[in-house]
């Protein structure tokens, strides 16, 4: 589990790097390159030792069964409908959680940057970040208490006479999504807010002046200009959702699993390291693929809005 969380963080870092360097680097001598990228060395060292090296050690594991080199693990995973259903479920949950984070987080970011009084901004930032100081386990436990059969929500609804029997909320996809959104929303808010801070307010006034309604001014000017933040936040949240283990495990119950749970099971319960490594690898490839798609979408959407969204 640890490895996979790190794996995804690494992937996120890499993609953010590739986002930042929109210009293709001109090839110079190796030394010149080294000199130019020296600020990256500490981070690269961390990445190599904590991400690339473990991955490199783990990957070969999945290509060897009983001392024989083979791709049987992968043909096994890809040929099994069960794995596909788990991959599909993981992607679906992560995507839904990401969209919800965006819908809930964007207004918060807008409030934070545009509407809050300057003196209170710091307080709102603290409120947004505060949940990150608590462990995911404790936060999932809190949702257990709220959503359970005899949880606070069911008790309240029963007492109010709105329902006759407790609702099944815990151990559903809905519970997992709620838990994920709750944990991930600060990442979305911070990503969008960082970009929104640099969008000139007078642009919205100019749009109003040129005949756009308040909503129109937002939709045609402010929102397109925050797209880089929206997309960066989206894939940060998406990648973190896809690799999260604790929340789906505690709130989703044991029956409907996500990829991270499968990996944990293979490594820690069944000690089937080759299969665990194989699933990890598949998850990594899926994540990279999605991030690649996001990168393309980002490039296209910026180019696209420039072309003629208005």
């Amino acid at each position: 589990m640890e490895t996979n969380i790190r794996a995804d963080r690494g992937a996120v870092t890499m993609t953010i790097d590739s986002l930042a360097s929109s210009r293709p680097s001109r090839s110079g001598s190796a030394l010149r390159t080294m000199v130019r990228i020296w600020p990256l060395f500490p981070a690269l060292a961390v990445l190599v030792f904590l991400f690339a090296l473990p991955l490199a050690l783990m990957l070969p594991e999945s290509f060897v069964v009983n001392g024989e080199p083979t791709v049987a693990i992968y043909t096994g995973i890809l040929g099994d409908a069960y794995y596909w259903s788990v991959i599909g479920r993981s992607l679906r949950l992560s995507l839904l959680a990401t969209l919800l984070c965006l819908c809930l987080g964007y207004p918060v970011a807008y409030y934070l940057v545009r509407l809050v009084k300057p003196g209170r901004k710091r307080i709102v930032y603290m409120v947004v970040i505060a949940p990150l100081f608590t462990s995911a386990v404790i936060r999932a436990m809190a949702w257990l208490m709220l959503l359970g059969r005899r949880g606070m929500i069911n008790e309240a609804l029963l007492n109010a006479g709105l329902i006759d029997a407790p609702l099944r909320m815990l151990y559903t996809d809905g519970a997992v999504i709620i838990g994920l959104v709750y944990i991930m929303i600060p990442f979305m808010v911070l990503s969008v807010a960082a970009v929104l801070e640099n969008v000139d307010r007078t642009l919205e006034e100019a749009a109003r002046d040129l005949g756009a309604s308040p909503l129109g001014a937002f939709w045609r000017v402010t929102f397109p200009l925050t797209l880089p933040g929206v997309l960066a936040g989206s894939f940060l949240v998406f990648a973190l959702c896809l690799s999260s283990y604790v929340t789906p495990a505690l709130l989703g119950g044991g029956r409907n699993k996500v990829m991270a749970q499968l990996i944990f099971e293979q490594f820690m319960r069944l000690f089937n390291w080759p299969l665990g490594a194989g699933i990890s690898c598949v998850l990594l490839v899926v994540t990279l693929f999605v991030i690649w798609g996001y990168n393309r979408a980002l490039a296209r959407s910026i180019g696209g809005t420039r072309g003629g969204l208005a």
Partner: protein, 359 residues
């Protein structure tokens, strides 16, 4: 001008406890170029933003083309604004920036293209339609900002120090272009500036503001020749302010400075009571240093404290016996050469040059 396009009546606006605009009334005629001139914080930008609809007045009435607009939101007002920062949309091309307003009004796209291309040609940017604002120079961005609002054919164009970000040379050129553009399109301009030269160069009328109040609103010539207050005299052009005693009202009005009789032919609504102290404003170019006293000319003894040759003007720095510093610019170059620092001279000016101003 009889035909009024903007009428502002008794407008007041305060932010928290600070009064930004304090009971301002003025009208702008159709096709007029009006400047709101004043130091920063004088309320000129707030007044402009109230015309655009970004601020609502606490009191008073604002009408554009006869219709009260106080409760009309910015996007429905028949005015457009050029922002100090230009506020060009960075994610849109020059063409799409210009088309923004027309598209909001659901103008058919063939007509949008025609209008936009027409106005791009007007500001000489027809080859830049597909560039993004970040790919343009400051002067080009300025022209895009102007074209973007003019293409909407507003009844009034509001400009918030649009030339402030340009360097001096470019600013001079843009001033000329702006003036020509205004004549060509025939739209009323309300132009906010803190630069008196710019206000003089561009405007038909100037409204001088300070501390939220409108001090004087008139043609450039009127304000320059007949400033009503010391602040106006100093803010629009340079002025020497001498303190005098009012001796007699009439034609001419008589004052006394250091025992000398001073005549002022047009005292206007002379401020102050008889034998009370009043302020006399003199433009530097009206003050000369006469060798011998001439008939019908006001004269005061003074000492030369400094002299400065500036090419197109010869500045003499004088000090009256009362210790008031006076700048004289009315000297020709030969006379200037004959005067040395420390000389005692008679500074002189015509009775038609002086103005009595309120403190």
């Amino acid at each position: 001008m009889a035909d009024t396009i903007v009428s502002i009546e008794g407008v007041r606006k305060s932010f928290q406890r600070i009064v930004a605009v304090d009971g301002v009334s003025l009208t702008v005629g159709r096709g007029e170029f009006v400047s709101l001139l004043g130091p920063s914080g004088c309320g000129k930008t707030t007044l402009l933003r109230m015309l655009a609809g970004f601020e609502a007045p606490d009191e008073g009435r604002i009408a554009i083309d006869g219709a009260d607009v106080v409760s009309v939101p910015p996007h429905l007002r028949p005015v457009n604004m050029v922002f100090q920062s230009y506020a060009l949309f960075p994610h849109l091309t020059v063409f799409d920036n210009l088309a923004f307003g027309l598209r909001r009004k659901r103008v058919p796209s063939a007509e949008v293209s025609r209008s936009v291309n027409g106005f791009l040609a007007l500001v000489g940017l027809e080859d830049y339609a597909l560039r993004f604002p970040s790919q343009l120079s400051g002067g080009q961005q300025q022209r895009v900002a102007l074209a973007r609002v003019l293409v909407n054919k507003p009844k009034v164009l509001l400009l918030d120090e649009p030339l402030a970000a340009l360097d001096l040379k470019l600013r001079k050129r843009m001033q000329l272009e702006l003036k020509q553009l205004q004549r060509e399109v025939g739209i009323s301009f309300v132009f906010v500036t803190h630069d008196q030269d710019e206000a003089l160069a561009l405007s038909d009328k100037v409204a001088v503001m300070n501390g939220g109040r409108l001090l004087q609103y008139d043609t450039c010539r009127e304000i320059y020749d007949r400033p009503r207050t010391e602040f106006v005299a100093n803010f629009l052009g340079e002025a020497n302010i001498l303190s005098a005693r009012l001796v007699e009202r009439g034609a001419p009005t008589l004052l006394e400075i250091s025992g000398r009789r001073i005549a002022v032919s047009d005292a206007g609504e002379a401020h102050g009571a008889l034998s009370q102290s009043v302020l006399l404003a003199l433009r530097p170019e009206d003050v000369s240093v006469a060798g011998s006293a001439q008939e019908g000319v006001n004269a005061l003894p003074a000492a030369v404290t400094d002299k400065m040759f500036l090419g197109n003007s010869c500045d003499l720095f004088l000090r009256t016996d009362d210790g008031v510093a006076v700048l004289s610019r009315g000297l020709d170059r030969d006379a200037f050469d004959r005067i040395a620092v420390g000389d005692r001279v008679e500074m002189s000016w015509k009775p038609t040059s002086g103005r009595i101003v309120a403190p």
